[in-house]
Symmetry: C2
Subunit: 181 residues, 2 copies
C-alpha cells in the first residue's frame, strides 16, 4: 500500500533517473511509470519503478529504474501453455545493478533485505555496469538490487504476463494498492 | 560492394552517432555495427548501420543509425510458417526519422532516391522525433529516411530473419560484400 503522494513522488523520481541515464522519454510516458511496492509497503527497500515501452502478444520492452539500494524481489517467469516462460534480457543503462541467480553463493556487494533471508534463495551475484547485458532464462529464479547510485535498466522479453510471475516471498502482491488519503 | 576502409569508416561514424544519442554501447559492440549497403554501392544514399543487441528465437533488439538523408530501402517482413511475419516497433532515439507506409501520398519532407521512383511505392509520410514510437505491421511495406542531422532508432521485434525480408528493389542484396582492396 502506497499513498497517492508517495506514488507520485516515486514516479517523478524514477522518471528523472531515466532521463538522467540518457534515455529520451516523453512527458506522457513520465506519467505511465508504474511504481511497484509488491504489496510490501516499504518501497525504498523492496520495490521497482517500471515504464513499459512495448507490450504486444509477442514482445515486451520495459525500462526499470531502481532507487539506491532498492531490491526487486526474487521471482521467476513460469511456463504458460506451450510457452516455456518469458525469456528476459536485461541491459544496464546507468548505475550498478546486482543480479542474483542460482549458483554458488558469492554475494559480496549486495545484501538480503532485513528479515527476508528465507525468500531470497538465489545467491550467485553478478555485478552489471552500463552496457552489460544478461539473459534470465525462463523459469529461473532471479532478483535485482541497485548499487548506491541506483540503476536504470532495459528489460527486453518475449510476451510479459507479469501477473503470472512467481515470487518466492508469499507476502508479495504484484499489483500496487494506492491509498486515497 | 564496399571497400574495407569504407566499411570501417561507416562503422565508426555510426558508433559515434549512437553514443552521441545517449545510448551506452560497449567498445566490443562498436565493432559489431553492421554496415549495410544493400548491394547498391552508394551507402550514403541507400543504406543503414545496424547494431544487434538481442537476437533470440523469440525477440530481437537492434539500434539503427542512419546518416543524414540516408534511406533504408522499402521492404517488408513476410510470413514464415505459422508466423505472420516479424512485428517491428520502431522508437526514435535522436534526430528526425521519416517513415513511409502505404496510404495517401503526403510526402513533403523526404524524397525518393534519384532514379528509384519505381521501387519506393509507400508514400505516406510520418515524421518521427525522439521518443516517438510506431509499429510496422507484419507484411506491410515500409522504408525510412533520416533527416538532415541523421537519426538513431531502436527496432524492437519478434524474431528477426533479415535474410527473408522482401525488398521492392530487385537490385538489392541484403548481405554487404566487402572488397579486400
Amino acid at each position: 500500500m502506497l499513498t497517492k503522494s508517495e506514488y507520485a513522488a516515486a514516479q517523478s523520481h524514477a522518471a528523472a533517473m531515466i532521463r538522467e541515464s540518457g534515455l529520451c522519454i516523453t512527458d506522457d510516458e513520465t506519467h505511465k511509470v508504474e511504481v511497484a511496492d509488491f504489496g510490501l509497503g516499504r518501497l525504498d527497500v523492496e520495490g521497482a519503478q517500471i515504464l513499459t515501452l512495448v507490450a504486444t502478444n509477442r514482445i515486451a520492452v520495459k525500462v526499470v529504474a531502481l532507487f539506491p539500494g532498492q531490491t526487486l524481489p526474487e521471482h521467476w517467469h513460469p511456463p504458460v501453455g506451450d510457452d516455456p516462460g518469458k525469456e528476459e534480457i536485461v541491459r544496464v543503462v546507468s548505475g550498478t545493478l546486482r543480479l542474483y541467480i542460482p549458483g554458488d553463493d558469492n554475494m559480496r556487494a549486495g545484501s538480503i533485505p532485513a528479515g527476508k533471508e528465507g525468500v531470497y534463495t538465489a545467491r550467485h551475484e553478478l555485478i552489471l555496469k552500463p552496457g552489460d547485458q544478461v539473459t534470465a532464462e525462463p523459469g529461473t529464479k532471479h532478483w535485482f538490487q541497485a548499487g548506491e547510485d541506483g540503476a536504470v535498466m532495459y528489460s527486453f522479453s518475449s510476451v510479459a504476463r507479469d501477473v503470472l510471475d512467481g515470487f518466492t516471498d508469499p507476502d508479495i502482491k504484484r499489483v500496487t494498492e494506492i491509498q486515497e488519503a
